[in-house]
Structures are given as C-alpha cells and as structure tokens.
C-alpha cells in the first residue's frame, strides 16, 4: 500500500462532495435527500403495476412498466390513464378475474393503442380535465409493426399522448416471433437458427425512435431498465410536455432471449454499454442529449449471455457476423457520440 508521496495544495486535497459515492447509481440512497432519490425508492410509490401478475420470472417489461408508470403517476399527481396494446404486458396483467394495475387502464386492440389514447386525451380535454394525462403503451410488436399506423397518426396530429414502447425485440407473448425490432442474427421462432444465415437477417428492421424524431414531435427518448434514474427523468420530463411524445425502453425478456432470469438488468446494461442500444433524447426533430457509455464492452459480452445468439458461437468459433454487429455498435457510438473521450463519469 503506497500512500502518496507528492505534496499537494489545499485545493487538490479538498475534493467536492459531488458524489454520493456509495450509491450514485442505485435506486435509492439513505444519504441523499428524498426529493433527489428515484420514485422507486419511495415507500409511497404508486406500484401502478403490483404483485400477483403472471409475467415470467425476471421479466424486463414488468419492471420497465412499473418504473415508467410510477414515475408518470408521480409527475401527474396520480392523474393518469393508461391505454395498453395487446401483448405480454396486457395479458399477464389482466387475466380475468385478476388485474395487477392500480390506475385506470384500458385495453382495446393490438394495433390501436395510440389512437385509443388520442380518444381518451380528447375526452379529457372536452371534459375540461386538463390535469388528467394519458399514456399509451405496448410492446415492440404492437408499436413498430401492427401499431405503426396509429402511432404515426398520433405523432402527426401531435396529440397529447405519451407513447411508451417496451422493446423486447420480438413478439414474445405469441411465442417469440420476429418483429421489425428484432436485431440481426437473433434467433426467433420465425427466424430460426438454420440454414446459411441462421437467425434474423441483416438489412431489415427499423428504428422507431428515429422515425419518431423525424415526425418532429416535442419529445422522443430511448431508455433502459438498467438506468432507472435516466428512465424516470425522461418520463417525468415527458409528462411536463404537452403534445405527442415517445419513449422506447429496452426491456430484456429472459424467455425470448434465452437468458437467465437474474440477468435482466445486467443484459440491459450491456446492451447500452456495448453501443448496440443507444440512449438518447430528441426534441422537435433534433437530438438534444445522449447518455454516454460508462464502461464500454465488446458486443460479445452482451451476446454471450443469450441463447438467441448461441449459434454465433457454435463450436467455440465466432461467427463473422459478430463483427457486423460490432460495426453496428461502433456506428451508433459514432453517430450519437456515446463515448466520452475525457473519461468522466456519466
């Protein structure tokens, strides 16, 4: 143990108490004022999605939904209505006779959550209850594919709806089929790991966040269950804005991704830290802020924990397509400026 030998000036020895070191990134921190902790840390959090639901063990969507809705409930003083598309979230939360939602909630169809939410928002306006806000939510299937038309319509009209997409990169509720959010090379039931190009193919897929940005709506953001502080900040910020807003949250699915149930947050973290899932915010068509990668990792670290990518490592040999995935990560890092060269803490 070699202590310092250099002589320091008083300024150098006094380091600002900027960090709450022991819990900067944790959900709560007993040393921090209550108002600065996350909503999730509070015993008074809404638990808008409470226990008894039928999500799989370790479900990232269940977690993401509670995170997002509790934050929105706090921001709106519990004056919130949620409209849910068909999908895992809807099915595992409301199987008759049990519902695990504690806020007013409506499920209509698979592809119309955005439009239904528009209707609810219109009703609130006409009833002169502007304090009641509306969230539409669904999985990637119900958002990027079948729900895309209604989503774009809602964006274009700038309806006062926050649409939250829980992106687990596939149609999970129906048995893990490919959606336009499924990453290349991933194995799904409709892109099986067979033939000369096993898994999902390159050259397909769409980025709904980018499309949302192109609609010039007031607020667009991507988020992850691995960064609760950031997610809550974005939801709360979104609720302070009126007009069409979109937040897409990356939520790992242990069943669909073939990962261990305890790795859900770890995987979400790796997806961000390797650059595959860029976390950014945009307003009125321009990117305004990005979340820097804190400790960059190669894409393999992320892929190896998921059986949906197992065929890329068959026989201990790395499939050359991994390099293409790494290139995607690198491209994201370059495009959004995700790596801070000064190496400061995020």
């Amino acid at each position: 143990m070699t202590p310092p030998v250099a002589t320091l000036t008083p300024e150098e020895t006094v380091q600002k108490l900027k960090y709450y070191q022991k819990g900067t990134f944790t959900v709560g921190n007993r040393l921090v004022a209550e108002a600065e902790r996350t909503v999730q840390a509070s015993q008074d959090r809404s638990n808008a999605l409470t226990c008894g639901h039928r999500a799989c063990q370790g479900c990232g969507e269940a977690l993401g939904a509670r995170y997002a809705i509790d934050a929105a409930m706090r921001a709106t003083n519990n004056n919130l209505i949620a409209v849910n598309a068909t999908g895992c979230l809807e099915v595992f939360t409301t199987p008759y006779p049990e519902t695990s939602w504690q806020l007013p909630w409506l499920h209509s169809l698979f592809g119309n959550a955005a439009a239904v939410a528009t209707g609810v928002a219109a009703a609130m306006r006409v009833k002169k209850r502007p304090e009641v806000r509306v969230i539409a939510q669904g999985g990637d299937g119900g958002t990027t594919d079948i729900g895309f038309q209604c989503l774009s319509g809602m964006f274009e009209r700038n309806d006062d709806v926050l649409y939250i997409c829980y992106d687990n990169e596939g149609y999970m509720n129906t048995g893990v089929q490919r959606s336009s959010a499924t990453p290349p090379t991933a194995r799904t039931a409709t892109t099986p790991a067979l033939g000369p190009e096993p898994g999902n193919v390159f050259g397909t897929g769409k980025s709904v966040p980018k499309i949302a940005v192109a609609h010039n709506i007031p607020y667009v953001a991507t988020a992850t269950v691995a960064d609760l502080h950031d997610l809550e900040r974005k939801v709360i910020k979104a609720m302070s804005i009126h007009g069409a807003r979109y937040i897409q949250i990356n939520v790992p699915c242990p069943l669909g991704w073939g990962s261990a149930s305890h790795d859900t947050i770890r995987l979400a973290r790796l997806a961000v830290e390797c650059g595959l899932y860029p976390i950014f915010e945009a307003e009125h068509g321009k990117v305004t802020q990005v979340r820097k990668i804190r400790r960059k990792v190669p894409v393999q670290d992320y892929l190896k924990l998921q059986r949906r990518f197992a065929h890329l490592f068959k026989g201990g040999i790395e499939d050359p397509r991994i390099a293409r995935l790494q290139a995607m990560c690198d491209a994201n890092i370059a495009e959004y400026g995700l790596v801070d060269t000064t190496g400061k803490d995020g």
Partner: protein
Amino acid sequence: MEHPFAITLAVGTSLINHTGSWRTLRPEYVHRLPPCNHACPAGEDIQGWLAQAESGDYEAAWRALTENNPLPAIMGRVCYHPCESACNRAVLDSAVGINSVERFLGDLAIKNGWRFNAPPAASGKKVLIVGAGPSGLSAAYHLARLGHAVTIVEAGPAPGGMMRFGIPKYRLPRDVLDAEVKRIEDLAVTIKYDAKVANIGEAMTDGGFDAAFLAVGAHIAKRAYIPAGEAAKVLDAVQVLRSMEGEDKPLLGRRVIVYGGGNTALDVARTAKRLGAEEAVIVYRRTRDKMPAHDFEVEEAIEEGVMMKWLSTIKNVEAGSITVERMALDETGFPQPTGEFETLQADSVVLALGQDVDLSLLEGVPGLEVKDGVVQVGPNMMTGVAGIFAGGDMVPSERTVTVAVGHGKKAARHIDAWLRGEIYAPAPKHEIASADKLNTWYYGEAPKTLRPILELARRTSTFEEVVKGLDESNALYEARRCLSCGNCFECDNCYGVCPDNAVIKLGPGNGFQFNLDYCKGCGICAQECPCGSIQMIPEAL
C-alpha cells in the same frame, strides 16, 4: 362504478394470485464479513463505524469505533492499516482511506472532548495489568468497561510503551497520545509509574488481584557481535528513541549509521536527520524489497534525505568510521559475503536489529512456557498459569500497535469470562464478503483522497507531524467511498428492481423483507445488490 362482468376488473384483484408458488430459488438477506473487519487485528467493526461517519454523525461513529479500539487518533497515525490492503474498493479504484477517517474521528473526539460512557456497576473483581503500552491500555479499557477494577503498573515514567518510546513525535505527536491515554484513565483506571514488577506472583498476591494481564512489550534491544573500538560510539535504537522523550536528546553527531532494515531503523534515521545530522545512512544486509520496513516509510525517509546502503553488513566500528562488507544475494535470496569491503565515515552507529522481551518478572512462576523469547499463550490469551494472561509484543505476535490493541481486547474478554467462571466463546463469523459477491457497477467513480503531507523543508527540520489529517468534507467523502461489503446499506436496489413488487421496504433503518407470497425467485435482487448481502438458496421442493 359498475364493473361489467369479466370485461372490467377491480384494483387489487391480482393479489389473490400468490406467484410465490412458482419459485425454485428463494432470496435471503445475509450478513457477510467485510474484508476490512476481517483483516483488522483490533477487531474493529470498520464498516460499522464508517457507516455512521457517512451520515455525518461523527460522535456515533467514534463511539462505534471505540467499542473495540480506544485509540483511534493513535491508530490513524501509526496503524499499518491491513484493512486498506484487504479493502474491496481497490477493485474499482483504490482502497477506502479507512485510516484517514479513523484519525479524523480520533482527532475530532479529542478536539470536542468526547468521553467514554461511565462503566457499569463494579464487579468486585480486581485485575492487574503490567505495562501501559497499547496492549495494556486496551485491556484496561475493556476490563474497566466490563465493571472490573483495573490497576496498570508501568515500569517507565509515562504511559504509551512503544507508542511513546519507539515511535517518533513526527509520526505520533505526544499530545494526541496523552489525550487518548487520559480518556482511559478517566474510566477509573489507576496507572502507577516507575513501578516495575519484579515478580508477578508476588505482585498479584500483594495487591489482591483476581487476574493479571502481562503486556510488558519487547524493550531490550537485540545486540549483534560487532568488533568495536574503545572510542566507537555504538548505541541501540531502543535507547536512542527512548531518550528522545527525555530532556537530553541523544548526541549522534553529523554522520549517523543505522544498522537494520525495520521500521525502527527508519525511525532512528529520520530522527537523526531532525536532530541535525548531515547524513543518516541505513545499512542493511539485503535489498529494499526485502526490507521489513513498510515501503511508504522508506519513501518518506528517502525524501527526507536518509540514505540507503543496501547489501552491506558492518564488519567493525571505529571512532569516526565503520567498515562494511558488501553482500550479494544468492539464488535463494540470501545475502552472501563477497569479500569486498568499504569504509564509511560515522560519528555514531545505532543498532536497530530487533527487540527482546524482559522476562524477569516471570521468574519463579511455574507453568509459564517461554519459547523463542516470547511467552506462549492459548487462544484465550491465557498463559500456562490460570489467571495470568499475556499479550502484545511479549507473546508470539506481528509486533504492531494494532495487534497489541487486539490482544488487549481479546484478553479482556477472556479474563472477564474467566472471572465469572465462564468461557468466552466468540460468535461464529459470517462468510467473507469477497469482491466477487459485489455488483460494483452501482458505485460512483470516486478516487481516493490524498492526505496532505508536510513540505519537505519543514519535515527535516522539525518534529512536526509529517502526514496531516483530512478535513471534514474529505473525511466524509472518504467514508462514503466504502462499499459496505456484505451488509445492506439500504440502497433500495432490491426494493426497486423486483419485477413483482415482492420486496417490502420497512422504512429507514429497518431494512427490507421479501414478500414470499409473490417472489418468483428470479434472482435479480441478488444480482443487483451492490454489496452482496442477498443470497439465493434453493427452495425445498
């Protein structure tokens, strides 16, 4: 409001579905032993008092600390902090500056005049402690707190043992030492000075003591046979450092040779510089990396101009010079003479070759086993004689102040039990909270605070403390770098990351509870617990 049949469901209806039945693994909150606690020879609950310090409640932190170790201000200056060597934070950036915070708390306690709580009702038992060094003082402190009447008999004129007569002032200012000793005395501990015990058996009987704790230390300098001329000035380190406490400082001359490679040798060399020696040279038979002295002390010494003569042994000493023979390390790392000699100018030679224990007080006491010059004791710190316990440098030991303090505490507990006719059985220790059990992602980047160091010029001319302490904001920052390995610090992570809302938050200070009706056993809580205080165990199926 109506709920059309089946279409519409009322809030709370999912609670009937006890998803806990899905589990094959169950989470449990566990306590694991932090490596700092495990490493501390004094058995401090370091994590515990750091946690108190973090919230700014320094007095509570100091009291938690002194539950185990009554000398924090001293420790914060002289302890070699094995806790920091074991600290898991090194995995992230560098170990927590535990020693700095301990010193801060100790200094604050002195500044604010915090006192120990009054001891409980007297037990009626009397314990004799021989030696007012760290081991004896520690034993006295713990025994007094257990209600026993303690008398310390000290051969020297002042308390402290090696702390006063071995460690120089620039490492341990004497006012700090005095303040911490006084606080122990205020617990109704009697210290008698200039009262060397000639025979322990008699001393116990004469004084009506029910038990004794021997902590006389090792104050006899080891000597080596080196041919020396009549006028040659050869002293020993113990002698030199002891005399620094008196009125007359030792006269070492302009060029001082210190023979030996331990901390004591460095202390002597650095003291010599401060006394005005132009040259202070350490002569050591092996190389720097083999020196028993701690590396940072070597650094400080070199900064202060102490010179090092490696791979040399002293062949003989004359008035004004010495002859050294160069050594070379063989394949096994042992120094072998080369036959090459060199003459060095020297006004005095100080031998720092280790110390032996004065065992004279043990004469005539049957049953005591002495081996390799130290008294053998059992795991209960008791010698072969019932009721006579021993600790510190006079028993097999690493010979540091902290180890001595630890011995004192351990012995006190065993003495206390023995006095009541019981046996003290310490609680079984938890599994160690090794770094692999942590999820370090959650800790923010926070490099270690550096302690300010006295400018070089002042260091070599005065005995002013070389290493300064941290101010409050830095100490607080440092304390907050602790990862709380193995023990929940209420970060709310488990409460937050459970997808099933199956963790109940009991409120600040009360921790958490798993709601086993709903917990599906996914294991995210255990994985995301930063400090490794959740464990997944298989359910009985």
